[in-house]
Amino acid sequence: MSLLSICEWIQNTDLSTAIREGALYYPIIGGVHLLAIALFGGMLLAVDVRLLGWGMRRRAVSDVVGQLRAWKRFGFVVVVASGALLGWAEPLKLYHSKSFWIKMALLLMVGVHALVFRPTVYGNSTRLDEAPSMPAVAKLAAALSLILWAGLVLSGRLIAFDS
């Protein structure tokens, strides 16, 4: 079974047709996707900005990382779930979209980023509080996180402009 035939199968499901052809489902799910990016993307930015030392410097790293963790996770789930529904509506278009595959590659790298940096940075914030200066690995994690995030937004937006 090829990927293309899976996409064709998805496209023919009732859910796919409903989101694609219903007047309100698509914009509402799109709105939730965008809102989650605004609310929780902003929290991700706050954490990375703290790690880079660009802001909130009076607050302990563990305060910022620890207190926003649950919200970032919640936001991630909402973004992925609403994004999956949007994708479910038009799998054939996405199959042929270069931007979509770039976006999926970036999403995969978000997973790698989490695996690589959780032990030393995000899951280790109390140690970062004690460090005399921010370790390079934490700054690297934050910079990569910002780049991945911006890349996901950009590639996602470009899907609509792929012909």
Partner: protein, 155 residues
């Protein structure tokens, strides 16, 4: 005075030509618009959630407002430069779009509300129930702004 001559002028300005020039111009500016409102709304949401008693509870709402102020303002600046550029790409269509009008109305109220009521609601002497109410209104206004913006393309 009618607003139409202004819209026509804007629609044929150098800014409009740049936005309508290369295919990538509009979506790239739009992405910076997204970065701007993520900064703006995300940092406001951190304060709103704190007023609601969740999120960053080890800091006070006033401390968070102060900490995040440069980022909130940067987001606002980014949003208010990329937004008009997008508007310039097709002024007449946006001007008559009901979602656009709804969005701009909500945006004006949200900005005014933020710098008047919300700035006062984070003070330590404000009763918690009023702070919560202020936070709910703030979140609702920003949700309306984003929702209205998303609907522009669908009406």
């Amino acid at each position: 005075m009618s607003v139409l001559p202004f819209l026509n002028w804007l629609g044929s300005s150098a800014l409009a030509n740049a936005m309508n020039g290369p295919e990538w111009a509009f979506p790239v500016v739009e992405c910076f618009h997204f970065f701007g409102f993520a900064l703006l709304i995300g940092t406001i949401a951190i304060v709103d959630l704190r007023l609601l008693g969740t999120g960053m509870r080890r800091q006070s709402p006033a401390e968070l407002t102060q900490d995040l102020k440069p980022w909130t303002l940067s987001g606002l600046a980014l949003m208010l430069t990329t937004g008009p550029a997008m508007f310039a790409a097709d002024p007449r269509v946006y001007y008559f779009n009901p979602s656009f009008r709804f969005k701009i109305a909500c945006l004006l109220v949200a900005i005014l509300y933020h710098f008047t009521f919300l700035r006062r609601a984070v003070r330590p002497d404000v009763p918690p129930v009023l702070g919560k109410l202020a936070a709910v209104v703030s979140l609702a206004l920003w949700i309306a702004v984003v929702g209205g913006g998303r609907m522009i393309a669908f009406v």
